[in-house]
């Protein structure tokens, strides 16, 4: 258990190691005490009963609730991701345009949708759609459009930052060999920019995946509604257990995507295909900061 020197701590000497061991022991005791308290509390409320887990060992639960819910969540996430990526690339490049009449409206759209709380946007689309297109079920439509507008705007900023991070010399050299504007973008800036922005893009897709849970509010058939509302109403008393099960599924999906982002970041740091450093992933999950340019 050697502790490496960090910005905060030097490599500990003999006394330092002793102190660290002491803190470790105390911390472990405190954590164990907290754990024991939680277990006692659970036992108190009868939540440790193994029968509560029984529903999750029957095929019906998975076939009727969790798999349809998962399908709903993944449908919304995949559609949202595809459209958000399209929206993001179009508006990100539009913001870099040389023409003011393209750049300014694109900037306004991106800044606006980044600042609107996503749930308000989804509610609004959900209530507005039947008035525009007649009756029907607009839950999926509202979620996908909301996710597209919001995450697409964030991705537009990522695209813009990714292309701006490429050294000026690259585009200057491209112009010097006689490429046009579209050629510079298509042949020189975008290929390098994509490598740079990939980690940030993937971590925004994790946000998008988590935001599909907002379907809870507009009764969309997603993992949260099926697993946390419908399932416990069929098997009474399983609220806590089903929260744990669907929580684990959400966390596994998000962490798989996150570790893909980390892997991409490592790879693009190694590769010499791009002359720009990889962008920092947008670190704020849920809804990121709007406004600040």
């Amino acid at each position: 258990m050697t502790v490496q020197a960090s910005v905060l701590f030097d490599t500990p000497g003999r006394r330092g190691r002793l102190r660290n061991h002491l803190i470790t022991a105390v911390a472990a005791l405190v954590l164990l005490a907290v754990l024991a308290w939680v277990v006692l509390k659970l036992k108190d409320k009868g939540q440790l009963n193994p029968d509560l887990w029984a529903p999750f060992f029957t095929a019906d639960t998975w076939v009727n609730f969790i798999i349809p819910g998962l399908q709903g969540t993944l449908t919304a996430a995949v559609l949202g991701a595809v459209f958000a990526l399209l929206f993001g690339s179009v508006f990100g490049i539009a913001r870099l345009s040389d023409h003011r009449w393209v750049r300014i409206p694109a900037g306004a759209v991106v800044e606006l949708f980044r600042a609107i709380p996503l749930l308000l946007l989804i509610f609004f689309i959900w209530y507005l759609s039947p008035n525009l297109f007649g009756g029907g079920d607009y839950a999926l439509f509202a979620i996908v459009l909301g996710l597209t507008l919001y995450n697409g705007s964030v991705l537009a900023e990522v695209v813009r930052a990714g292309i701006n991070a490429i050294p000026r010399g690259q585009s200057e050299a491209a112009y010097a060999i006689g490429l046009r504007k579209s050629g510079v973008m298509r042949l020189v800036l975008l290929p390098q920019g994509i490598t740079t922005m990939m980690p940030a893009v993937v971590s925004q897709l994790v946000v998008l995946l988590k935001d599909t849970a907002l379907g809870y509010f507009i009764v969309y058939v997603d993992l949260l509604n099926m697993g946390f509302k419908n399932l416990p109403s069929v098997y009474p008393g399983t609220k806590l257990v089903s929260a744990i099960v669907i929580g684990v599924i959400y966390i596994a999906m998000a962490m798989a995507l996150s570790s893909f982002a980390t892997w991409l970041e490592k790879r693009s740091r190694r590769s010499r295909k791009s002359s720009a450093k990889p962008l920092e992933p947008v670190p704020f999950v849920g809804v990121d900061g709007g406004g600040a340019p």
């Binding site: 960090s6 905060l8 954590l31 308000l120 509610f123 609220k239 806590l240 959400y250 849920g286």
Partner: protein
């Protein structure tokens, strides 16, 4: 326009509820986030592991699930009740609990990233001139770390303010999103009402974004 004027007062009350929530959550998440960050950079493996586990679990769970878990799991099933008489007070504090727990994970990550931006040489130089742990923390590391933390922390709080619209999942049904939903249910969808609420959020968020951006630029450490 008429609907916005007619329902204006109710919507304003809802928006004030969001503001109230934001202020309380900001305080709690800053405290918990700082403790978590201290755990994650401590020389004690147990604390580091506990902090990492917490951040990874909470950060990868949808906020809606966290809040619904506080409401249906902690309160309904395990009997965590803040107020017996007032269900709204109870759900207010449940929302604060869930959202603080969630936001704290992000506060922790920004603080940790801030500490990591301080170059190793700074700490080594501080030790070389004989500063103790607390002296080097107070005089060398924290002043530099705080500066690089301002902008990310500003974004975390902006996100938190926008996230307060989700608190209906914790049973706190008097926030502006739910008031908007109720008005849409009674009078049908209204574009002025939506735009009015959006304007209120933009008016709240833009200054925070610009201020934290300005402050971060002003205080930036020249390296």
């Amino acid at each position: 326009m008429d609907e916005l004027i007619k329902y204006g007062p109710e919507l304003a009350v809802g928006f004030l509820n969001n503001l109230k929530l934001s202020l309380v959550i900001a305080v709690f998440s800053l405290i918990v986030g700082t403790i978590l960050a201290a755990m994650r950079v401590s020389p004690t493996p147990v604390l580091r592991a506990a902090g990492t586990a917490y951040v990874n679990v909470v950060r990868n769970t949808p906020l809606t699930l966290v809040l619904a878990f506080c409401y249906l799991g902690l309160s309904d099933t395990l009997g965590l009740i803040f107020s017996q008489e007032e269900p709204l007070t109870n759900s207010f504090w449940l929302a604060v609990l869930g959202m603080s727990a969630y936001t704290a994970a992000f506060v922790c990550e920004s603080l940790r990233a801030g500490i990591n931006t301080v170059p190793m040489g700074q700490a080594e130089a501080a030790r070389a001139i004989g500063l103790t742990f607390f002296q080097s923390l107070r005089l060398i590391i924290l002043p530099q770390a705080t500066r690089s933390v301002i902008a990310p922390l500003g974004s975390v709080f902006i996100a938190m303010i926008k996230n307060t619209t989700v608190v209906a999942a914790a049973g706190y049904t008097v926030d502006v999103a739910n008031v908007m939903k109720t008005t849409f249910d009674t009078t049908g969808v209204s574009i002025p009402i939506f735009l009015g609420i959006v304007a209120a959020f933009v008016a709240l968020i833009l200054p925070i974004g610009y201020f934290s951006g300005w402050l971060a630029k002003r205080m930036a450490v020249a390296r």
